[in-house]
Each structure stands twice: as structure tokens, then as C-alpha cells.
Symmetry: C2
Subunit: 346 residues, 2 copies
DNA sequence: CCGGCATTTGACAACGTTGTCTAGGGGCTA
DNA sequence: TAGCCCCTAGACAACGTTGTCAAATGCCGG
């Protein structure tokens, strides 16, 4: 394509390197490196010549080569379920903010709740040699990460614990939050309370279910099988289940929704329902206070989860070598009205 | 630290390399490379030995070195304003999905609407040698990107056009959407319509303002200065402005909100207001239909924006070399009630 | 005026991978 | 059985950067 000597010029699509800059400035390679990295020991005059060459050629340091040489990438990976989920936006943003404050970039990927895809993503990030990982697990077996951990990839799990390996984890108080939510409904006179939650394979779903059952048991209330729906929270399925619970001969008088998607679907179902039905949802969401009645929720601070996890990650990267920690972020019951509805005829 | 011969063993914190694997399997370096990359020309028996060594050592290919050698990183960068904004979640997810289907990872960063930070991020991504960039511009001068574009970094701008350079861009029909929204209000009898929007420095805000003015002009209606608020859309500021517009001697009877944050604030203001006031918001948001009255909005399909932009980006990466394109994604007016309110006493 | 020291500069190897090229061995054909 | 070719395998250079070390220069004190 061109017979121009390498090192003096550069072809289209080929970026100029330090060698090119050095040749143009009439200095050595290492001097360019020094200027680019702001290292001392360069005459103002030399520095100016190099800077001019850099500008003229449009040189930009190749971080791949730098990484290869230095061993650190100054980037961390974030694997979560779905960026489009409003719960993860603030979390991701918080992680990014912490990364930024440490001069690191954030690479992220969505697992779509698929364990195989989670593993694929995590290993791809390890191949890029990210310095650390923040993972919201989709799967429940993370032994595949053991070699990476041993090799020094700092890893913090968020929202759900790692499976079958010992690692740092930052969780919400799912159990306590759920228990408080259901206790709240019971305190307002409800005895027949439905629960609609995610697949019990998922830690948060399991914990929230446990909170529900515990609150019921503590009040001496039975839980009928037909009051509990676990599994996919696809709107159609949730709608059908909620409708059935409300249409039963002895209908539930209140619903506890296991996550924000379920809550929204429940609101739509209840809207078309004759009798008032109480509702408490896990996860806060924007506008929960504008719906009528305003929705009582158990709020978790997803940004705080992200901030805490990223903070822990960078402590690890700074060399802190304590045994793996398990941090829990408290949840908060926000009464707004929908949970304070009393059972009809109660 | 250790006198173990390099190449046979590896120290803690040092990952095994192909050389280590080769030594352990008793084969040559290139053979390991062949196995790792699934290249042909390796005996099943040799391959097995290599695989065993890989597993035993926990080897994972170092993509930094690979990138350095091959020139392509199989990653693209996404720079947006704020991941926590619900508008960007689906967009980001869509871009990621397209990237994934092309075997690329997504690196993203938030500019926080700060041009300097946008530039910093973009250049950092270029230094990582991402293959391409999807940028939602915060600034209005992107000449700093010219050397990168010349070097072959494919770049697509989304939501707002690039400033002072010629590049691909994917936009929503902001003008048409705003015009339709305001025309909708006018059709329902409104003559005094307020507009609250972002800083006119931002392209979308400018276009929406233009749509508002055009619709008013087309109906032969004047626009008073006090009906228009531009600039920061901080809730307090928006609340004060909306309240003032409604409390004026000749108050506006309808509001057009320039983005979803403004809409939400407006809903809160109107909720506490005596007279019914019509409202149309730009951007759809979850639960807009559950608020009372349900909020009429101009919906833009942010996922479609992301998909289109990423699609265009990968076409570029595949070598398509047309002149820069400008694609426009249509918006859709979704009447839900709040825009159909007729002016009091009109 | 000379030795020694500090400062600036550059040559060179190394990081871990992949592309190219060549060597060696086994099977097939004439 | 000799010659050829194909298939497997490895040696080596190169990607662009940074760390190490040594050379060259200039300045100081004696």
C-alpha cells in the first residue's frame, strides 16, 4: 500500500506511535514516554518539541501496550442483570463514580439473569485483566472464579451472595425488610396476605419469602399455598396469579409484592378491582407517591449498595487483606397509604 | 522474591502465561496458542495435554497482549450523561445487546453533562483503543475527536448531533414531537401554554423549544416570555417557575414539560393545585398511565435509538464507508388524559 | 585545569500474545 | 523403495509501551 519507511510516517488506519513521535521530534523513544507520562528529567525545550510532534501527529498513547507492560489496567468490571432495570441504574452509576474517583474505567455487561452468560462475561472481563470485579450473581455456583481470585482479581458480590466460594458480598436486608412489610400489613388488620416473588433460586427472593413467612408465623397466622406465587415475574403470570388470589372464595385482603416489577403489575390489577386491597412492594420506584393510593414500599438504597461494594473493592485493590466480609445495607419501610388500607369488613 | 526459574512456575499474583502452559504440557508456545484459539493442526493427544495444563494452572489468555498484537479490541465505548437516568438504561442495554451480538464488550462512562468530562472519557476510551464509540454529547465542540476519526475510530453520536465535526448521528424527532404535543394542547382549547425545558445549549432542548414556538405560531398564538423557562431543571427551580406561571394574573392553562424530570416535578406541582391544568410531557416513563390523571406524553424509543446507533456503528466497523448519516427516530404522542383537560372557563 | 557529581538522554529488554516461516516425520504414489 | 507432499509442531519476530542502565553533557569545588 505504501513504501514510506516505517517510523517516519504513518499509514491511514495506523495510529502514530511513540516511535513516530520520537522520529518527528528528533529525540529518543524514552524521552517521548517521559513527556507523555509527565516524568521529570526533560528540558523545557525538548518537552516543547515533543509536544509539538504529538499534536502534529495526533498521537494518543496505546493503553493496551501500557497495560501489558505495567500489569494494571485501571479498569473494573461490573456484571449485573439488566441495565434497563431502574434498580441497577443508580447502582451502576454509583460504582462508576467510585471507579472514577480512583482513576479507573468501568466495563459492564448484563447477564440477563442467565448463569452461563454471567460466567462468560466474567471470564471475558478477566481475560481483559480488569483489576477487579463487581458482580450481581445470576448463578449460584461461582467456583469457576477460584483461579481468578487466586490470581489476585479482587471481586465483590452485590445484592446476592456468591455460590460455593468465599468472597466479599454486600447485601440489602431482604429478610428484615420483608418481615417489616408483612408485619406492617398485619398491624393494619390483615390476616390473609398474598406474596408474589421471584424464583427461590435467587437469594433475594428466598430471603424475602423467609421474611414473609417469619412475620406471618410471629403473628400466629397460617400461610396457605395458594397465597404464594414464586417463579417468573412476567406480567401475565403475575396478573393471573393476583387475580386468582383475589377471586378465591376466601380471598387475600393484602398483597406483598416481591420486587418492583411485581408491584407495578399488582397496582394495575388492583386498579381494576372493586374492593380496596392493601399492597406493600419491595423496592421503591419513582412516582410511587403519585399513584393513588400512594404505594407503601420497602425501599433499598441501590446506589448505596453500589457505593459500598465499589468502596470495598478498591480497599481490596489497595491491598487490604482481611477475610471476606459480608456487609448488609438496611432497608426502610416507607408508608404511603397502600399498606394502611384495612381489610374490608374486618 | 523467588529464585524459581521463570517459565516453569508462577509466583502468587502473577498469572500463568502461555509459556508456563507450554512448559507444563511439554509443547511449544505456538501450540498452546493454537489450542487456546481453536486453530486447526493440533493432534487430539497434544490438545488434551495442553488443555490439562491450562486447567491445572488456571490459565486465562491475556487479552491485552492479544489486542496489542491484533490491533482490534473487540470493545466499544459508550459515553452518556447519567446511567441512573431511566432514559439511558434501555439505550445502554440496547447498545450492549448489539455489541454482544458482534462479540464485543461495552465500556461505558457518564459525562454528568460536563463537556470537559465527556472529552476526558472519550479520549480515555480512545487510549484503550476501543474499536468504536457511541457518544451522547454533553459538549458542543467535538473537534478534539478529529484525529481519532482519522485514525479509524468509528463514532456515532446519539440523541444530539456532534459539534463542529461531520459524523454519524441518530436523533429523535424532537421538533416534530414537541410540535405535536403543543398542537394537541391547542386542539383542546388552550391558548396560554407554558414550556419548561433544559438549557438551550442542549440540542434536544433547542429543538423542543422550536417545536413549541412553531406550534404556537402556526395557531397564531403569542408566546409571552414568562411562559418559558429554560436552564437547569432542578426540581426546586422547576417547581418555583411552574407555580409562578400558574399564579400569574393571566395564568397559563397548560404546561408542556421538556423532559421526564420536568414532567414529574410538574405532576407534583399540579397535584397541589386547585384548578385542573393540562400537561403533556416529553419522554414516556413507567407508571405515566397510573398517575391520575394519566399523563399524556411524547414518547421516544430510547432502546431504538441505541439499537440504531450501535447497528450503524458496527456497519462502519464492517467497512461501510458512506458519508456521515443523520438518522431520525420518530416520536409518538400518547394521549392518556392529562393533555385532554380543557382550560377552566374556556 | 581536572575529577566527580548531577542532570538529561537514549539503547535495550521485557510484558504475553499471534503471524510467518521452517523443520521434521509419516503416509502415499510411482 | 525412493520421492513427494501434507500435517504437526516450534523458533522467532513483532505489536507499543515502560523500567533499567549506561552514556554524554555541563557544572562545581579543589
Amino acid at each position: 500500500m505504501t513504501e514510506t519507511a516505517r517510523g517516519t510516517s504513518h499509514r491511514y488506519g495506523t495510529r502514530p506511535t511513540m516511535k513516530d513521535v520520537a522520529a518527528r521530534a528528533g529525540v529518543g523513544l524514552k524521552t517521548v514516554s517521559r513527556v507523555v507520562n509527565g516524568e521529570p528529567g526533560v528540558t523545557p525545550d525538548t518537552e516543547r518539541r515533543v509536544q509539538e510532534a504529538i499534536t502534529a501527529l495526533g498521537f494518543r498513547r496505546n493503553d493496551s501496550a501500557r497495560v501489558l507492560r505495567k500489569g494494571r489496567t485501571a479498569s473494573i468490571g461490573l456484571v449485573l442483570e439488566d441495565l434497563a432495570d431502574p434498580f441497577y441504574g443508580p447502582l451502576s452509576r454509583a460504582v462508576e463514580e467510585v471507579a472514577r474517583s480512583h482513576g479507573a474505567l468501568l466495563i459492564n455487561g448484563s447477564s440477563a439473569e442467565d448463569p452461563a452468560r454471567e460466567q462468560e462475561l466474567v471470564l471475558a472481563l478477566c481475560a481483559r485483566r480488569v483489576d477487579g470485579l463487581v458482580v450481581i450473581p445470576a448463578g449460584d455456583d461461582h467456583r469457576y472464579l477460584a483461579p481468578e481470585l487466586a490470581a489476585g482479581v479482587a471481586t465483590v458480590f452485590v445484592d446476592r451472595p456468591a455460590g460455593r466460594i468465599d468472597a466479599d458480598v454486600v447485601l440489602s436486608d431482604n429478610f428484615g425488610g420483608a418481615r417489616a412489610a408483612v408485619a406492617h400489613l398485619i398491624a393494619h388488620g390483615h390476616r390473609r396476605i398474598g406474596f408474589i416473588g421471584d424464583q427461590p433460586r435467587i437469594h433475594t427472593a428466598k430471603e424475602r419469602l423467609r421474611g414473609y413467612r417469619t412475620a406471618m408465623a410471629e403473628a400466629g397466622l397460617p400461610v396457605e399455598d395458594s397465597w404464594v406465587l414464586l417463579g417468573s415475574t412476567a406480567p401475565d403470570r403475575v396478573r393471573a396469579a393476583a387475580t386468582a388470589m383475589l377471586a378465591a372464595p376466601e380471598p387475600v385482603t393484602a398483597l406483598f409484592a416481591g420486587n418492583n416489577r411485581v408491584t407495578v403489575t399488582a397496582v394495575r390489577v388492583l386498579r381494576g378491582h372493586a374492593r380496596p386491597v392493601a399492597l406493600v412492594g419491595f423496592d421503591d420506584f419513582e412516582l410511587a407517591d403519585l399513584v393513588h393510593p400512594a404505594i407503601t414500599v420497602v425501599a433499598q438504597d441501590s446506589a448505596q449498595l453500589g457505593r459500598t461494594a465499589a468502596g470495598l473493592l478498591f480497599r481490596r485493590l489497595d491491598g487490604v487483606d482481611d477475610p471476606p466480609q459480608r456487609l448488609e445495607i438496611p432497608t426502610r419501610l416507607i408508608p404511603r397509604g397502600s399498606g394502611e388500607i384495612r381489610p374490608a369488613g374486618g
